[in-house]
């Protein structure tokens, strides 16, 4: 019996545990296994194997019963996830349904989740921009949150490192606010996107560049070695790509980690808490509830990476209480769960352009078009709101169709490829300010079916966001007008935070253990063998998409963790 027990503990002991298998968890697993660590990766959802478990990936439009529409019964049962732009018949199986993991909205928050191996990396919009010192110096310059403990030069080599492996397409645009990376060829701007780019550069000194995205426009050997192939421009990415044309943990980091022979992947594993040993002064493992059997199992390791995605990482840390940490793991400062923020996507503008009718496009652009880097309050404060916004920009022509009538002439007209004039569109991606009043916390009574407390979420737009939105609409309207676009329509929607799927913070990095949870290595100030490298670690939100930065932080942090372990410091 004693032997059995010892064997069982041995079987449940690893060098490292990674909680979560998505965008950042996949990287943690790849890096740690690559450095020879026997690693256990825990995922609360089911396994999704590359290609094999993409059930809709090769389906034709007519093979979907409702041709993509979600049945009304599903929509009504899922008011939250149904608001997500990608929740359709072809990818609904990769989204968490509203009743599957309830939470409490102290303020309205659309929590969009993907509980499966690969997480939301299967579903993301694949936009990848580096952050710059305009972001990392932001809180210090503008007096909010706390100073980032790093600067761009600290993380730049790690951006390069992850970009080379993930495969990022883009142009070297030479912009300090959007540093260049290790790019595969960019997807081109079309004629009207180019026209607008030239116009706003000459008139405003602003930039419209090819959107940078995690697609293999022209794969290198390292991508072929992963079993991935060139992006085929199907633009059905949310189904999972049989070519591995875009970066996902499923296509890239997880198979790579498995190939090392050092990875044990355990799906259906809901992490209840991280185990802290008061005597050792370290985390010793994690407590898992098997999602199916509800059995509780403990796993042990020397180092723990928390990559459960921002909100769930907070949940796990807050639920990891001990004598030493009664208010959540590593929470000496009391800021754990606070200073959460998101991106403001609540405005968009459309218009028409009557020029360049002799041009069109052929095929589909995986990058989605153009990207306007932040131009507001960049070098100095110049408006009555803090920070700024990036903007999407794309131009397209659609089928010019006369919808009047019925019969054979009507049908022939619809089948003709006559195109409309150009239409242009832009959407806002605004930075929001992390505030102490914005929080996630645990409910003291209600628990989910795995016995884990329900998460309460509270964050909201503020006056700064309203002013910034107004400015976005004014600036883009002016830029559109001066470019000769007509029929300009600005729309502001009243979406709740969360639908941007860029929620961040709660376990922020900082120099001072009194006001932050993590140090510059994404290592807990107070528990040196626990690392948080997903969105929860973010001190501020920038206005760039965050995934690439999570990847870079994770690779950097894993490298540090292993070197510290080898030195005997962990």
């Amino acid at each position: 019996m004693a032997n059995l027990n010892t064997d069982s503990i041995k079987d449940r002991t690893f060098d490292a545990i990674v909680i979560g298998s998505g965008m950042s968890g996949g990287w943690a697993a790849k890096e740690l296994t690559g450095k020879g660590l026997k690693t256990l990766m825990l995922e609360r959802g089911r396994d999704v194997k590359h290609i094999k478990d993409y059930p809709t990936t090769n389906m034709y439009p007519w093979e979907f019963e409702h041709r993509g529409e979600m049945p009304m019964a599903v929509q009504e049962a899922n008011p939250i996830v149904n608001r997500c732009y990608a929740f359709h018949e072809d990818a609904a199986h990769f989204f968490v349904k509203d009743k599957e993991h309830p939470y409490i909205q102290d303020k309205p928050f659309d929590w969009i989740r993907g509980y499966q191996v690969g997480g939301k990396s299967l579903l993301w919009a694949r936009q990848t921009q580096r952050w710059s010192d305009f972001d990392f110096e932001g809180p210090a310059r503008d007096g909010f949150a706390v100073d980032w403990p790093i600067r761009y030069q600290d993380i730049a080599p790690w951006y390069s490192y992850v970009e080379k492996f993930a495969g990022i397409s883009g142009n070297k645009d030479g912009l300090a606010e959007l540093p260049d990376g290790e790019f595969l060829p960019a997807f081109p701007l079309n004629s009207v996107e180019q026209y607008f780019s030239k116009h706003v550069k000459s008139k405003y000194g602003r930039h419209v560049i090819s959107a940078r995205c995690a697609h293999l426009s022209k794969p290198n050997q390292i991508h072929l070695d992963q079993g991935r192939a060139q992006c085929q421009e199907r633009i059905l990415c949310q189904r999972g790509c049989p070519f591995g044309g875009y970066f996902s943990a499923n296509a890239s980091t997880i198979p790579w980690a498995l190939k090392s022979g050092n990875l044990t992947l355990r799906p259906h594993s809901v992490v209840e808490s991280i185990i802290y040993d008061d005597k050792k002064g370290k985390a010793t493992g994690v407590r898992v509830v098997d999602a199916n059997t509800k059995e509780t199992i403990e796993y042990y390791a020397k180092i723990i990476f928390v990559n459960a995605a921002a909100m769930n990482t907070n949940l796990v840390l807050l639920n990891s209480t001990s004598h030493r940490f009664p208010n959540g793991l590593g929470n000496d400062s009391g800021v754990l769960g606070k200073y959460v923020a998101f991106h403001n996507y609540s405005a968009h503008i459309s218009a028409q352009y009557d020029g360049m009718l002799e041009w069109t496009t052929d095929g589909r652009n995986p990058a989605g078009g153009g990207y306007i880097p932040r131009f507001r309050n960049l070098h100095k404060q110049e408006t009555d709101f803090l920070r700024g916004y990036a903007s999407g920009f794309s131009a397209y022509r659609w089928k010019q169709q006369n919808w009047d009538g019925v019969g054979s002439d009507f049908k022939d007209n619809l089948a003709k490829g006559e195109l409309s004039p150009w239409h242009v569109g832009s959407h806002m991606m605004g930075e929001t300010i992390p505030k102490e009043a914005s929080y996630v916390k645990l409910d003291d009574k209600l628990k989910d079916e795995w016995g884990v407390p329900l998460l309460k979420i509270s964050m909201d737009y503020d006056d700064n966001d309203a002013k910034m939105k107004k400015d976005y609409i004014e600036q883009l309207t002016e830029m559109f007008t001066s470019a000769g676009f007509t029929n300009i329509k600005a729309e502001s929607d009243n979406r709740a935070p969360g639908l941007d799927i860029h929620e961040m913070g709660g376990a922020r990095m900082g120099n001072d253990p009194k006001t932050s949870v993590l140090n510059k290595w994404n290592q807990m100030h107070a528990v040196n063998n626990v690392f948080v490298t997903d969105g929860a670690s973010m001190t501020s939100t920038s206005c760039q998409n965050p995934s690439l930065t999570y990847m870079a932080f994770t690779a950097c942090s894993a490298d540090y963790a292993v070197s510290e372990m080898k030195k005997g410091n962990i």
Binding site: N58, Y60, P61, W62, E65, H66, R67, G68, E69, M70, P71, M72, A73, F187, P188, L189, N190, S191, E193, Q194, Q232, E233, R234, L357, E358, W359, T360, T361, D362, G363, R364, N365, P366, R397, K399, D404, G405, V406, G407, S408, F410, K411, D412, L414, A415, K416, G417, E418, L419
Partner: protein
């Protein structure tokens, strides 16, 4: 001799009523066999003819070839809100009444020319109605029928690949190509 007579004869020979005769007969005469909670096979046959009138077979297949009747019945059942379902279901009799008023015969009895004439009128009616309706007013039933016909047909295999052009794997993106009028439209 029609099928009903034939079945009747079999009945006479066997000296009694045929079990399931109604079911056999339904094979040739539109029956009331339900296809889902809202619709029966009669409705599906009607939707097929409405769809075919909106998008008839020309040099390319028509809406019936895309099984448009079944598609409409399924979409209204699964994807429509209850208030839209009501309007749509009532629309079936509204449409027949309009046909009877105009031609003194039901839509199914009307010939192709009459059907086209009627649906052209209903299309103008729905367009005017939609233009002036308040957001909270109900939708027009014929707009729903037309929308479903277009959606179902152009996303069907015949619609996407015969009437339009469809490529599953483009394999390239070119941001700048000269626009040539007259090419077929792309399905996606």
């Amino acid at each position: 001799m029609n099928r009903r007579e034939a079945l009747g004869r079999v009945g006479l020979i066997l000296g009694g009523t045929i079990i399931g005769a109604e079911f056999f007969i339904s094979g040739c005469k539109p029956s009331s066999k339900k296809v889902n909670e809202l619709f029966d096979e009669n409705n599906v046959a009607l939707f097929d003819e409405i769809g075919e009138t909106i998008l008839p077979a020309t040099s390319t297949p028509g809406a019936k070839a895309a099984a448009i009747g079944n598609f409409m019945a399924m979409m209204v059942q699964d994807c429509y809100k209850p208030e839209d379902q009501k309007v749509f279901v009532k629309g079936i009799s509204d449409l027949d009444e309009a046909s009877k008023k105009k031609f003194s015969k039901s839509f199914m009895e009307a010939d192709a020319k009459q059907r086209t004439e009627l649906l052209t009128e209903l299309d103008a009616e729905q367009k005017n109605y939609t233009k002036s309706k308040k957001p909270e007013d109900p939708n027009h039933y014929f707009r729903m029928m037309k929308e479903l016909t277009l959606l179902g047909y152009f996303t069907s295999e015949v619609g996407a690949t015969k009437a339009l052009r469809y490529i599953a794997v483009p394999g390239h993106y070119d941001g700048n190509v000269p626009y040539k009028k007259g090419d077929k439209a792309w399905a996606t």
